[in-house]
Assembly symmetry: C2
Homo-oligomer: 262 residues x 2
Amino acid sequence: MRWVRFSNGNGPVYGILEGDHIEEVSGDPFTGFERSRRTHALGDVKIEVPVIPRTFYCVGRNYAAHILERAAKRGETAILPDRPEVGYRAVNALIAHEENVVIPSDATEKVHYEGELVAVIGKKAKHLSEADALSCILGYTIGNDVSERTWQRSDRTFWRSKNTDTFKPMGPWIETDVDLDALQTTVRLNGETTTEFRTNEMLFGVGTFISTMTRYLTLYPGDVIWMGTDGDSPDLKAGDVVEIEISGIGLLRNKFVAEEPF
Amino acid sequence: MRWVRFSNGNGPVYGILEGDHIEEVSGDPFTGFERSRRTHALGDVKIEVPVIPRTFYCVGRNYAAHILERAAKRGETAILPDRPEVGYRAVNALIAHEENVVIPSDATEKVHYEGELVAVIGKKAKHLSEADALSCILGYTIGNDVSERTWQRSDRTFWRSKNTDTFKPMGPWIETDVDLDALQTTVRLNGETTTEFRTNEMLFGVGTFISTMTRYLTLYPGDVIWMGTDGDSPDLKAGDVVEIEISGIGLLRNKFVAEEPF
């Protein structure tokens, strides 16, 4: 099942996508819903961010190749994480499928994409074993962890390198029927494939993260966990279009534009 | 004016505290409200976390003495930050005034308090000058940035050292009429004063942070910014009661208890 959050004149509502049509629901997939029999053509609505998370978790350094490549570029020796440790991103930075990533006027040329699988929590969860960990998941969507690498290296925190407004595209929708081992992530820049990897070849998988996290913290419906990225990105500039496709989930597309003077 | 979020049988509602009585309102201080003429004695209600933030910002290393003392304890040379850089905390960890901080069974003895001023954003804001920065603030409350120092040093992120469930007491209410320069923070452990500092003697003040942050990001109503702490904490154990008082705002009190077996 595919959950789409969209607007069509009024405020955002949820619907179930079947083919090219959305059946609107009252309520939402987290607290309960009823089908309405009101349908919309997918092309007639504006797709919104699929969920505004209560807490926005994000895993860094979770694919060996990505860690090794980035360390080699800096002439450093890579150290692979020996345990799952989650980080955070900020809600202000979220944008939807087809919305524009705005590159600040003082950013350097080192603006990169990171194509990521996103786990969307559907049920309150604490103390889940690894065997039960996936039981709290509603479904999966796609994220682009846009990063300004010069700021990422020079700043003490990720506040502007990764959380500048518009730097966190997420969508287009939430797919509930997913075989993690079958997923393939493909990133295209202006139509050409620039990064490809098996989505589930993570150092620590979704279940390991959820089991470890819920030893100490409660996950809530609507929380999201971005699972990290593999490979490397070319430098992006205004006019570029980045598509992140994860087979079986969908395709997240965003154009990069220059900041207007303010 | 003091905004209290409380429950009294039903779900949380907002009210205005005058003396020992709360006048309940419909709505909230962020999107609009109407007075109801329903009043409650402060002692008859359960005080809730004053706001569930959309984004939970938290400043680290913002008082010179705190940085110098912690570095000296580790035998390291302190480096003071040369610019304001904000970090993040997680909503799962929030608890209210008089709720218990639960120390995980595998935590070390190095569990510490950090008494902090909290700025609560009332209006959407971007590109604020330093002169206008405080115009987006609804008011101020108090936070205790409880930290497990062994995990803080050994982990790559603050996920469990600072964001374990119950590690972020916030409250008791939001005070809108505040003279920042007049504030004094006092922390008491089991009734004895253990830390005292002038609240506004920060390396970078509230206005400087908001002006810098809004160059890159939009602040939204309900966002909170915890402003960092001064001084140092003794090791805390089950049974301890920590009170953080900021003159002119209020007093946040929480007991520390041991985790029950799960």
